[in-house]
Symmetry: C2
């Protein structure tokens, strides 16, 4: 096993950015994607040109659509796919995992590492891997086409937590060889409860459903997060903070997070969001079939709300968004999403949940 070898799982915006950046930093990079066309396109040159905060052309050692080939014997597996697919990808890689490998979910949303651990075990793997999840993607980035990535910005700090919890400093150190921004935190409850996407995406998208589906373009943050919609986000955020408190976990409020990440101040979330320069030009979704709903509801609001229910904390605003999201999309995110069973937390008390995330 080679700790200088990194497998990047997912060649989307984040995956290609990581791949190019790591290659430019001298790491040996393997890149996997589920999409055959993308794999074929990337295989041709094995080069990804990156611009913005990082500039250059990274050469990828191996581009593959075979997940076994991607992950076999590498020290570090970076999973950079929509969180909603983390379970199925974990199931696919399970047969190839070996003791000592580190799998990092970028990010885990709520319950990523727990879901992956449960899934790998259910798939029959007994490999002693370390699972890690971050609370946000390192980059603000996009990949307009295969072989090209634009990194608009790099965050100052990203939290990383692990299963077992005590491995966080070691995993952070591993990541710090490339990226000094990763900072270990005590356990995955911290990263899982620090889910800003679940705050900023589903409710504003839902409350802009009409203009999205009738193809009326808008700026997602400056026009989509109106004063009243920001108030709804704050209501949902206070439910998240109450769930965290019930689990004795301290996480920043969404307002504190904006101040920490972007240095924007203001009494209300609305004012803060309006000041975020990085949001300029970010358009609202053009279809309701958007990750802002089909990802951030099942891997964000659903497990947050279910954790609340288990702890006796009411989350009516979260539930309302899930319920209306279900009706809008004709889906059942309560069933599709991360249940406490899928996270290995069903029927457990706060103390028992803490025991699960320590081990």
């Amino acid at each position: 096993m080679d700790s200088a070898q990194v497998a990047i799982i997912g060649a989307g915006n984040g995956g290609q950015s990581f791949a190019a950046h790591l290659a430019l930093l001298g790491f040996s990079v393997r890149l996997w994607d589920v999409e055959k066309e993308k794999v074929d396109a990337l295989k041709k040159t094995r080069r990804i040109r990156v611009s913005g905060a990082v500039t250059g052309e990274g050469v990828i050692d191996l581009v593959t659509g075979d997940i076994g080939e991607a992950v076999r014997d590498v020290g570090l597996i970076m999973v950079v796919i929509p969180t909603v697919y983390q379970g199925s990808v974990a199931r696919a890689m399970a047969p190839y995992l070996k003791d000592g490998q580190v799998i990092v979910l970028h990010p885990g949303a709520t319950g990523g590492a727990l879901e992956v651990r449960t899934t790998i075990r259910e798939a029959g793997s007994r490999a002693a891997v370390t699972l890690a999840e971050t609370d946000t993607l390192l980059y603000a980035c996009r990949s307009p086409r295969a072989g090209e990535a634009i990194i608009h910005g790099i965050k100052d700090r990203v939290n990383v937590a692990t299963l077992p919890a005590a491995e966080a400093p070691r995993v952070a150190a591993l990541l710090n060889a490339a990226f000094p921004q990763y900072t270990p935190v005590s356990n995955v409850l911290v990263t899982s409860l620090n889910n800003g996407n679940a705050m900023m995406h589903p409710a504003p998208t839902l409350l802009n459903a009409g203009r999205i589906e009738s193809q009326s373009p808008f700026e997602y943050y400056s026009e989509g997060v109106t004063p009243s919609i920001a108030r709804v986000v704050e209501a949902i955020d206070s439910e998240r903070l109450a769930v965290a408190k019930s689990l004795d976990v301290t996480v920043p409020s969404i307002g504190e997070w904006y101040t920490a990440c972007y240095g924007v101040t203001g009494k209300e979330l609305y004012e803060q969001v309006q000041q975020v320069k990085a949001y300029e030009g970010i358009k609202g979704p053009t279809t309701l079939n958007t990750r802002y709903l089909f990802e951030d509801i099942p891997t964000g609001l659903v497990p947050l709300s279910l954790l609340g229910r288990a702890m006796g904390v009411a989350t009516p605003a979260m539930e309302a968004v899930v319920t209306l999201g279900n009706a809008l999309l004709g889906r059942d995110f309560w069933r599709e999403g991360r249940s406490l069973e899928k996270l290995g937390l069903a029927g457990k008390s706060s103390a028992e949940i803490h025991a699960v995330v320590v081990n």
Copy 2:
């Protein structure tokens, strides 16, 4: 008491249309409004010019801001105000009410007649009045300014129910002297559960909150009720039908209602709504402080949902809209709205509720 004398309570779109139309039909009309400026403007000429489906200039006998002066000794009191003010107006008129007077709410939304009865009794009135509610306003109309009304259309049929229930044929006959469209139905549960506004207004408004608050104009029905939003309305409507069924009340689905009212057909609500000619040109609200929320939530979704809860019928989509409406507007419609206490129905079984609405 003069049965040819009619008091119109409220000089809005509907009130001025009724006043002009009734005056042109030869009735003696008194017109009351809470707004001093409007009363002063109307007092100057006591004339309302009406155009559209009805043409002419109606002369109003009395325009007043004194509700006692308006209702004293008239046979018929037509209440044509936002349903959310029906309670406070009932309290104001209670001291002046006399045996035999008929009060008709145009429309009652959900629980209008019940709330007015409870309110009048609590205000200390023992007058034997007959209370009536319709399930929709007779007209599609607007009043661009005091003294002018435009009646775009007149519905073919409007249901009317009464407290006590047996009075419905008599009240319908009274109304039929002017308007043949009013048809008696068995009791106020029928009219109260037949609340189309509560289906078509709060959810689509909520799901268009972003474009409303960011002042992006749109056609309310053709652009605002997108296919997915129509699906949400259908989910809410099936909850309403389940509540009705639990109370042994038969009401049409929203789709059946569209077919009956507008002759539009189609498998899905979305298709039907797109065909309604009368909806052409109806713009979405330009503020979230709109009757579509502050009226149709507390006098529609709240009592419908609470009736459901009392009958053991889950109404998660209705509750979701109320919850997010509360968060959007910073209000508490569960508290402000029509509770079962306000309707005199708290703690009652289906059979007991039927006994209440018969008497």
